[in-house]
């Protein structure tokens, strides 16, 4: 069920400002791909363009090709809403819906799309998704409490449960652990390992150890120069990236000699 993604000659703009230029990459199905790089070099922008969330920002547009399962994502005939149903996203800050209970938050993707389901089916989706997000044991007795009442790490796992409840093909994660403590982070990393068997996962992270721990492939983004657009410097298997990268800039960044 998981799909691979092919990106070719991707240019991403905010209005007239060219943010990212000339990205070519292949994201393998059923694997974890990490994007690393300094702040402001376009990692999140590339990630958001993969499920057409980029164009939610007024004036933002994309040139180039992103192919998923033989279909070009930016073809005029493609419905962005349908894309987002197949390619889910977890954000940097946990953002459960404040008006909904834990139970309703998990079902939000189905409920908001007015999908009719039997109660038993809903229950099973909630349990499966929350188990998938390693949250079931902590919240099973208070499913009707508001989602905002959970701790930050629990809220983030709730958001992951919400994203996997609609059974997407691909899961995009934009720095999912940056607001979390080490224990919650480790819970989410374990989760990423488990989810890998079913989903294609792309994760943006500032934490190099995290990229090394969870990912199969790593892409290093950097600005060409100050004031220039960001670019994909190198993309390789994570093992190679962290032991013997092809590019000098990659080695400098990974070993902390980045200036």
């Amino acid at each position: 069920m998981a799909k691979s993604i092919d990106v070719s000659d991707l240019d991403i703009y905010y209005g007239d400002f060219l943010a990212v230029q000339g990205v070519n990459m292949t994201i393998k199905a059923r694997s974890v791909t990490a994007f690393i790089g300094p702040s402001g070099c376009g990692k999140s922008t590339v990630l958001r363009s993969l499920n057409r969330m980029h164009e939610v920002i007024p004036g933002a547009r994309v040139e180039g090709k992103i192919m998923v399962d033989g279909q070009s994502l930016y073809d005029p005939s493609i419905d962005p809403v349908a894309v987002r149903r197949q390619i889910g996203m977890v954000f940097q800050r946990p953002n459960p819906f404040p008006t909904m209970s834990i139970y309703d938050n998990v079902l939000a993707g189905n409920r908001l799309n007015a999908k009719r389901m039997k109660k038993a089916e809903q229950d099973s989706i909630v349990e499966k998704s929350l188990r998938g997000a390693n949250l079931w044991n902590e919240v099973k007795d208070r499913l009707n409490k508001p989602g905002m009442g959970l701790s930050g790490g629990q809220q983030q796992r709730l958001c992951i449960a919400r994203a996997i409840a609609v059974e997407p093909q691909v899961l995009l994660m934009d720095e999912p652990c940056s607001a979390l403590d080490p224990i919650s982070t480790s819970a989410i990393e374990d989760l990423i390992h488990e989810l890998k068997s079913e989903f294609t996962i792309v994760i943006v992270t500032h934490n190099m150890q995290q990229a090394a721990r969870v990912s199969d492939d790593t892409g290093f983004f950097n600005l060409k120069a100050a004031g220039q657009p960001g670019q994909l410097v190198e993309m390789n298997a994570t093992k190679k990236m962290f032991s013997n990268p092809d590019n000098e800039a990659t080695e400098a960044y990974i070993s902390g000699r980045f200036g």
């Binding site: 499920n51 007024p58 894309v83 889910g88 404040p98 008006t99």
Partner: protein, 364 residues
């Protein structure tokens, strides 16, 4: 004033403690100022207003001076600002309390079961009349105004925040809404009158026309408050919803509106409270009658403000056998109607707060 505590004999190396006025200091100054100006007022035969003013001035001067001696400059400025803020607060509250007291004391004697359940048909002289027709008129006209303006206002705000952000059309709408806020209510009434005269001929008077005039005044308030509330909804939530493959219109109806519902309801109720007391437009287009009229679309309708206006300007005559000093019957009815109007507005405000609390986003 040697009431301050003795300084600690052993000073810490860090100078963290400083002399302070005792906690009852401001109260003491207030009492002294009150007594001093009271004495002066009695000796010179002043009224209540100069007495109160002198008390305030004495307090505002004496407390900072005492504080400057004991606490130093920063403490004195703090005391001065605090006193000024409190004085302004009292100045702002005095008229409100005074008004409430006047309306309640004058209006309460007029209120009884018959006053609330009878109209003014065939009421002559000091017969007991009632304001039932005006209560019905007020509630119906305001309800119809809300029915017209709440959907328009909320949809307009949704366009401004969700769809038209930064476009030229949105900027024009915002500008026109601001202009609408400044329309004098009598102009709204004349507009409604002109509109209905154009359609139905010069003799037309109907309650619905009043609703149209009131909705002109209500729409900008609803747009503005709803717009503010929608802007408060974080973009994170919209993005979370989009990322689940939810279309934009469903995101708005199922995520954005429920999140801001409490605030929107409060804004709408405040807008209702604002127009329920309008007199001028209704005087022009809804007219005045002594009978109960439940039909918004035909014949004249009286509302409470219009009723108050007519009772006050045409109070009737004092009966020749009444004791001297008796007021004309219309005056007492006007006060009673004013009290009922205030109670209705206050009830609406309380309901708004209650609904706002019920629909507010719950945490934990």
């Amino acid at each position: 004033m040697s009431t301050t505590q003795a300084p600690p004999t052993q000073r810490a190396s860090l100078p963290l403690s400083a002399p302070r006025l005792p906690s009852w200091g401001p109260a003491l100054v207030a009492v002294v100022a009150f007594a001093a100006s009271g004495l002066l007022a009695m000796l010179l035969g002043w009224g209540i207003v100069p007495f109160a003013a002198l008390t305030a001035v004495l307090f505002v001067v004496a407390l900072p001076v005492w504080s400057a001696v004991v606490e130093g400059r920063r403490g004195a400025v703090d005391r001065l600002t605090t006193s000024l803020v409190w004085t302004s607060f009292v100045l702002a509250v005095v008229p409100l309390v005074w008004l409430m007291w006047t309306v309640v004391s004058n209006g309460l004697p007029a209120i009884n079961a018959q006053f609330l359940t009878f109209d003014m048909r065939n009421v002559i002289g000091d017969d007991q009349g009632g304001i039932y027709h005006a209560i019905i008129g007020t509630l119906l006209i305001t309800l119809a105004a809300a029915v017209i303006s709440v959907p328009i206002g909320i949809f307009c705000a949704i366009y401004l925040v969700e769809y038209g952000k930064g476009t030229r059309l949105a900027r024009w709408i915002t500008f026109l809404v601001d202009v609408m806020t400044g329309i004098p209510s009598i102009v709204a009434g004349l507009f409604a009158l002109a509109l209905f005269v154009l359609i139905f001929g010069p003799q037309i008077r109907l309650g619905f026309g009043g609703s149209v005039a009131l909705s002109l005044l209500m729409i900008p308030v609803v747009v503005r408050s709803t717009e503010e509330m929608l802007r408060l909804v974080p973009d994170d939530l919209r993005e979370a919803s989009y990322a689940l493959g939810v279309p934009k219109w469903r995101t708005i109806t199922k995520v954005v509106l429920p999140t801001s519902l409490g605030g929107i309801i409060t804004g709408v109720m405040l807008a209702v409270a604002r127009v329920i007391g309008e007199t001028a437009p209704l005087l022009v287009i809804a007219g005045r009658t002594d009978s109960v009229n439940f039909n918004l679309f035909s014949e004249r309708m009286t509302t409470l403000p219009v009723y108050i206006y007519y009772s006050f300007t045409q109070p009737g005559t004092v009966p020749f056998d009444a004791p001297p000093g008796t007021e004309a019957p219309g005056i007492e009815r006007a006060w009673g109607a004013a009290l009922v109007l205030i109670v209705i507005v206050m009830a609406l405000n309380l309901i708004a707060r209650l609904l706002g609390r019920i629909f507010a986003v719950k945490k934990g």
